[in-house]
């Protein structure tokens, strides 16, 4: 295992402490619940926006806590939803009179923890609503008894409701906006390599030197199929062919386009994929309104990339253009 790590079981707490220390006072940290939250939260006139999910997807979700984004994140261990206790205690500690919004990626573990945590919090009189993110088009509908997975599209849900909530939107309004994003966002991921959870110490799956996994899950769950590694042009075609008909995205649409790195792929390759995709979309009459090329939702050090398209209208365009501040420093 080629990682910077001390005791692997302390990986998440030590990472969270680093996030806290690097924030220069902008964040607070409650180790008991893996809880990272804005130092200026809760605010009486703002809905509190909380996400849990597993760790190992950084910068999601602990590193996108900040003004205009999440107010708090209480992740579980690497690739495991948080225990119910984290959800309940976080909700209680940060609840606002305007209510609390739980943004949950659609995995059984996350859902169950947030359902139970919500029930317990509501018994304390806290007003709560839940958004279920499920943007992954990877697997065929017929077998999705549990619904689709939530992956990188989660970023756009957070960005939109985060911006709206800074502007004073109430809980119902945030649910409406969040669900509009969820209804219009689609993602497909492709892995070139596996990844190694620190506690496990060995790769989650094996993949040959000339293979790729199409439709990979962000926890290493297998996807649509294992195929030979093909050229970047062909990979973009595979992604677009999976994503475009799914909504569908049509000529005349405007989109936000995200090329997200899964952790081990350098940003140069993401820009290469971006350029190819941008041109192919233009050929199809789909206009890129705003572009996102970086790591947003990773799977530890997995080499690979996901493509996310969000169909935007005037309301979403305005929200995406709003400023936001998170503790990851670029400058």
């Amino acid at each position: 295992m080629k990682k910077f790590v001390n005791d692997p079981r302390q990986f998440v707490p030590e990472m969270l402490e680093g996030i806290y220390l690097a924030s220069g006072g902008r964040l607070k940290y409650e180790p008991k619940y893996n809880l990272i939250y804005r130092a200026d939260i809760p605010q009486d006139n703002k809905v509190t926006i909380i996400q849990g999910s597993g760790s190992g997807h950084e910068p999601a979700h602990t590193m996108i806590v900040g003004k205009g984004m999440l107010d708090a994140a209480c992740p579980g261990d690497v690739f495991a939803g948080p225990p119910v206790e984290f959800v309940y205690e976080t909700t209680k500690l940060l609840s606002s009179p305007k209510g609390v919004l739980h943004i949950v990626n659609n995995y059984t573990g996350d859902r169950l923890a947030f359902e139970q945590g919500r029930e317990m919090s509501e018994m304390d009189g806290i007003k709560i609503e839940t958004l279920l993110v499920n943007d992954d088009v990877a697997v065929k509908d017929s077998t999705w008894t549990v619904g689709r997975r939530g992956v990188a599209g989660n970023f756009f849900v957070i960005k939109a409701v985060g911006a709206a909530s800074e502007n004073g939107a109430d809980l119902d309004e945030l649910v409406r906006i969040g669900n509009k994003v969820i209804a219009n966002v689609r993602t497909l991921g492709i892995a070139l390599s596996s990844c190694t959870p620190p506690v496990k110490g060995s790769p989650l799956f094996e993949i040959a030197d000339d293979e790729m996994e199409v439709g990979i899950g962000i926890h290493g769950e297998p996807g649509r199929q294992r195929t030979k590694l093909v050229s970047a042009n062909e990979i973009v075609d595979i992604m677009l062919n999976a994503i475009l008909p799914d909504l569908p995205f049509n000529s005349g649409d405007e989109v936000a386009l995200m090329l997200n790195g899964l952790g081990g792929t350098p940003i140069g390759e993401l820009y290469l994929l971006y350029g190819i995709t941008h041109k192919k979309l233009e050929e199809k009459g789909i206009k890129v309104f705003r572009s996102y090329v970086n790591e947003y939702c990773t799977s530890l050090e997995m080499a690979g990339a996901s493509m996310t398209l969000l169909k935007v209208d005037d309301e979403l365009k305005k929200l995406l253009n709003e400023p936001a501040e998170v503790s990851i420093r670029v400058f």
């Binding site: 597993g54 495991a80 225990p83 496990k200």
Partner: protein, 218 residues
């Protein structure tokens, strides 16, 4: 097994906890085949606290012990397993109440309450490739075996072994099933051909309980 005492429940809880901790890697590897490989690590986070805090538990009733375990698992275990296993123990606790001795019927009622809790929490039915597919046949077998007159004579040793064997076999039978729940469900057809991690764990745990039970009461 004329009645299940606090002592017997202690044995069951401790054996369950130790078996889960010992099988951390094995359970996770099972989960890694088509799931995300966290199953064993998640269980360990809770059951190692069960072990370390065990001597401080309120032992005034079977319900009190089960409640404490349910709280620890809900609090410490992430992933699907926290809510599922936590709910199972909490429902079992409610069914056990303040009883200090359990009849055969009590034991079955408690186990059925746990199963109902799992089904309500996770929404799964039989045949969807989850731990229910091992747990339900095991409890069915236990109920049938305990109903036999000879089970009164051997403290339930044979009945528990039969239940464990039923779980082991049923876990094996999850192989051809299509996963419909948890992260494994996302693999669709590719989940066919490997056993369910949760069901296998149930078999392993019951075999360990059976061995410990025979050691003590056989």
């Amino acid at each position: 097994m004329a009645s299940t005492s606090i002592e017997g429940l202690d044995l069951v809880v401790k054996t369950t906890a130790e078996t889960c901790v010992e099988n951390t890697v094995y359970f996770s590897e099972l989960d890694a085949v088509v799931g995300d490989g966290d199953f064993g690590y998640s269980l360990r986070s809770g059951f190692e606290v069960v072990i370390s805090d065990f001597d401080t538990f309120d032992r005034s009733s079977t319900g009190a012990i089960l409640k404490k375990v349910g709280f620890i698992l809900s609090g410490k275990v992430g992933g699907s397993s926290g809510p599922i296993w936590g709910t199972a123990f909490l429902r079992a606790s409610a069914a056990a109440g303040d009883k200090t001795d359990l009849s055969h019927e009590d034991v079955i009622e408690i186990l059925r309450a746990a199963i109902t809790g799992i089904m309500q929490r996770g929404g799964a039915s039989l045949g969807e490739k989850t731990l229910l597919d091992a747990l339900v046949p095991a409890v069915d077998t236990l109920e049938a075996e305990l109903a036999k007159p000879e089970s009164a004579e051997d403290h339930g040793v044979k009945a528990i072994q039969a239940a464990a064997d039923a779980a082991t076999k049923a876990a094996e039978d999850t192989k051809p099933m299509l996963a419909m729940r948890g992260r494994a469900a996302y693999t669709g057809e590719r989940s066919i051909g490997s056993v369910d991690a949760g069901a296998t764990a149930v078999g392993v745990i019951l075999q360990a309980i059976s061995a410990a039970w025979r050691e003590k009461y056989g």
